[in-house]
């Protein structure tokens, strides 16, 4: 299947030179002035050809134009890398992996990955992109002792071992593990990609091994950083493109040196993609990112100051945005949020408080809490009834979804919930509040980051539902950093957050979000820490059901065929539905996406998710175009 795909790409690319080459007007001027080689010399010998046609409701575009967007802070520059979505391998719309920057790749039983680069592929400054860029990143950055990095990314370990890296020839590199590593390719395709290559020709001037010591010292002093390692990291940030000098393979290149309130990104003249007519992508010449206070972004968007906006808009802004449609010549579309659950309650099975921990470990208690919530009321009040009520699991759009997963203990039944709590022996006191086994009243403190008013509103609604169960919910808000450290320390009893990030996985995606793997997992931080550190920290898992989840995850990691993966996923989701480790409220909520009427090829409907969709990334933002002829 995959080799077939790469053959198709090969064939398509052979056809390209026959087609007429049309330069983007801005670049044609520079070529004419002799400042830049013509397109044919800038493109790889075999560019990637993407078909922009009716099959995906798109029309081939014309180069030119500017997309304006609004962001809240300089850190959001990373969204350009997310939206641009040029990856070694990337997902297409059906979430199949396709070689993108790579010409092709071979995957031998998830153990040996051989990556083939495109001959003649160049960085945005015109320097060649070769195996040396992989070697530099691996040997001189990732595993270099001098760089003092705290270990590799988890996706680079399989069976606890890092890979063997080889350069086969200037256009071929190979990563070899002894155990299967199914996480490697998805990590390369991630919204935040695994960095296994970098612009070595540029970055060597900031590396002690290659640089003149004097010049390096001067550079360290000029940037006011601690040492050259910090300088290397600062200059080499590819995910957050702050450094205008750093060459990139992404569709747009930053021209603005921070700090600034307006960032201009220009098309990468060496970008490796063409449409079927031989027009080099991206179609759009410039991205202009204006920085504004996040609370003011809906207002600015409504007054037509953004051509393409999803970030910092929420469902509640829809009516307001809709009113400005005619006046400001844009359209508001509703995309589906790709998270497993828009909001979920997480009882902490590792809570430091022994009374609550014991109660939470009882599945009956978790089920009772879930059944006590009137989800349809929350849906009506906060989402005008447009969301779907259900437990915290995968989204209905996922092939792994089954109806019984979404409805498990998710129907409002306070009588059944009370019966379960009575059965557990949790007696009510004279004030109607139930008592913990140690005699304390059930004052359930629920912590949240206080970032969204939706969290506070849902808590208020749930509080009155749970009052009928004899449990008093006390909301406590803090800030994200404090919240995370409290969770990791086990100080929280219950917390509020969204469900899994990747709400619509296929069996090829890792089920890690459903299994203790990370110390920041809200329902079992200590177990997650134990697994993440290979038993060096955290607590050993002493719950048979959760232990079974870990076992299934190991099976998925070692799986050689799709049936095993599918079976592992199915059982993991079944256990979650039965055990209610997190209490989901509503799923498939909607979020407005504002699109200028001039901007073409933006899907009418889509999934708004960071990973794996990278928001506009999987929908190929490099093929969006500005139609100046469109009605004003």
């Amino acid at each position: 299947m995959r080799t077939l795909a790469s053959v198709a790409v090969l064939l398509a690319s052979l056809l390209v030179p026959a087609m007429a080459v049309e330069e983007a007007p801005v670049l044609a001027e520079r070529v004419a002035a002799g400042k830049m080689p013509p397109q044919k010399e800038r493109l790889p010998d075999e560019p990637r050809v993407t078909t922009v046609d009716e099959a995906t409701q798109r029309t081939p575009g014309k180069p030119g134009g500017t997309i304006r967007m609004l962001m809240a802070e300089q850190n959001d520059l990373r969204m350009v890398t997310v939206y641009g979505y040029a990856r070694l391998v990337g997902y297409d719309r059906s979430l199949e992996l396709q070689p993108d920057i790579l010409l092709s790749y071979e995957n031998d039983r998830n153990r040996v990955f051989t990556l083939h680069l495109r001959p003649g592929h160049k960085w945005s400054d015109g320097s060649p992109f070769t195996a040396e860029d992989f070697r530099y990143q691996w040997e001189d950055v990732l595993v270099d002792k001098d760089m003092e990095r705290g270990g590799l990314d988890p996706a680079l370990y399989a069976g606890g071992e890092p890979p063997k890296f080889e350069v086969i020839d200037p256009l071929t590199v190979r990563y070899t593990w002894t155990a299967p590593n199914p996480l490697f390719l998805p990590a390369l395709a991630g919204a935040r990609p695994l960095d296994i290559y970098s612009a070595s020709a540029y970055l060597k001037q900031f590396h002690a091994k290659y640089a003149e010591p004097k010049a390096l010292e001067a550079a360290v002093a000029a940037e006011q950083v601690k040492n050259w390692q910090a300088l290397q990291i600062r200059k080499g940030r590819s995910y957050r493109p702050e450094n205008p000098d750093l060459p990139t393979l992404q569709p747009w290149v930053n021209l603005t040196r921070p700090p600034a309130n307006r960032f201009v990104f220009e098309r990468n003249p060496y970008y490796h993609k063409l449409d079927q007519n031989g027009v080099q992508l991206p179609y759009v010449d410039q991205l202009v990112i204006n920085i504004a206070e996040s609370s003011i972004i809906p207002a600015k968007t409504g007054s037509g100051e953004s051509d393409l906006q999803e970030r910092y808009l929420s469902f509640g802004d829809y009516t307001f945005l809709k009113e400005g449609e005619e006046r400001n010549n844009y359209q508001v579309r509703l995309w589906t949020v790709g998270k497993g659950s828009a909001m979920a309650f997480f009882p902490n099975l590792n809570a430091a408080d022994p009374g609550w921990r014991a109660v939470f470990r009882d599945a009956r208690f978790r089920r009772a809490l879930s059944m006590g919530i009137d989800r349809s009321q929350i849906n009506q009040v906060l989402f005008s009834g447009m969301a779907q009520e259900g437990a915290s699991t995968v989204l209905p759009g996922s092939p792994l979804y089954r109806d019984e997963l979404g409805t498990a203990y998710a129907t409002h039944d306070p009588d059944a919930a009370n019966a379960l709590l009575d059965e557990m022996g949790l007696k009510r006191g004279p004030d109607g509040k139930r008592r913990l086994p140690d005699g304390r009243p059930m004052d359930l403190i629920v912590e949240s980051t206080g970032e969204s008013s939706m969290e506070a509103d849902v808590q208020e609604l749930v509080a009155s539902d749970w009052q009928k169960l004899g449990i008093k919910l006390l909301p406590r808000t803090s800030q994200r950093d404090i919240f995370r450290s409290r969770v990791a320390a086990g100080s929280t009893i219950m917390s509020v957050w969204a469900g899994v990030d990747n709400g619509a996985p296929t069996a090829d995606f890792s089920p890690q979000e459903f299994v203790p793997t990370d110390p920041y997992q809200l329902q079992w931080p200590a177990w997650g820490n134990y697994m993440a550190t290979n038993g060096k920290a955290g607590e050993k898992i002493d719950d048979p059901k959760v232990a079974r989840l870990v076992e299934l995850y190991q099976q998925w990691l070692a799986a050689e065929d799709d049936e095993t993966k599918q079976a592992a996923w199915t059982e993991i989701l079944d256990i979650h539905a039965d055990q209610v480790y997190s209490i989901g409220i509503v799923t498939a909520t909607l979020v407005p996406v504002v699109v200028s009427n001039k901007l073409k090829n933006v899907p009418e409907q889509g999934i708004s998710s960071f990973d794996p969709y990278a928001y506009f990334g999987v929908y190929e933002m490099d093929a969006f175009w500005m139609d100046d002829a469109a009605a004003n």
């Binding site: 009516t319 009506q380 506070a456």
Partner: protein, 389 residues
Amino acid sequence: MSLPTDASPLPHFVSDRPFDPEAVYQYTAAQKALFEASQLRLMWWKFRRHKPALISAVFLGVIYLTILVSEVLAPYNLHSRHTTHVYAPPQRVHIFHEGTLQAPFVYGFNYKLNMENLKREYVPDAAKIQPIRWFCRGDEYEFWGVFRSDWHVVCPAEGGTLFLLGTDRLGRDVLSRIIYGARISLTIGLLGVMVSLVLGIVIGGMAGYYGGLFDILSQRLIEVIQSIPSIPLWLALAAILPITWSPIVVYFGITVILGLLDWTGLARTVRSKLFALREEDYVSAAQVMGASSYRIVFRHLIPGFASHLIATATIAIPSMILGETTLSFLGLGLRAPITSWGVLLTEAQNINAVALYPWLLWPVLPVILVVLAFNFLGDGLRDAADPYK
């Protein structure tokens, strides 16, 4: 003019009315009252002539009385939600229905979700006449957290609604929330002013009476505090308050912070007044008679300008109320579920409120009115403070 015919006496040319040689020294009743009146009475007379101040005083008195009985005055409980009336606009009170006079009533709403722009549309339905009930039983509440009751001055019709200022995003009555919010917003000003009054009088009093090193140190401290821009300082201090504290403790912390920063101006005034007054003969007399410093300051000096202090304090209260509103508005002061006017305004702090749900901005009105009233009151008190002028 003819002479009298007989020998009857001629009319006397001198008045025979009783003669009081001290009549010129006699006072009229009004004058007598004026001269015999106490200082307090004089101040009242003078204050009474300042109409805006008088009206403000009455207004504030009424508002402060309402916070004692918020539960009874509010048509709904603070926390009661109406999930079928989310973002409902204010209901108008009518007394005419199709030309006939009726007891005050409101028209019920017909609700429709506009699928085009997902706007919740409420249309008053002339068929749904909902007479307002008076002195009635409605939402249950805990009066001052002590006993339960459900008695209200005004309630919606049975099965009807009464949202005179509309509802918010969870369908809570805005008017009820404003009435409850007054309790926090108005008292936070008093607590803060207390702290600043005590600090101002004690530090200013000591500096003014003793002078010397203490005076120099305290004056430099005041200069430092006054030179710090207030909003960033509030933000920093509010950020210090541990996030784990309960909102009520945070509330107390904020009053103390506001008070701790606001005493400097008062201390200056007290000090300069004392500088002038301590040279007076009656102070020397007290000293000669062996009165202690404490007695001289608090018995002889402070009463000399107590009226002035009252006026200053009155003007300080609105700045405290505004301070609370500012901090809460910035998200650093009080937080839900505590309800103050600042918290209510924070919740209205987005473009949706301004563009689609303007009634969420109603809490601005009481803030403006109360601050204005305090300013007029302070003005009147200052005019009245020295009645002998």
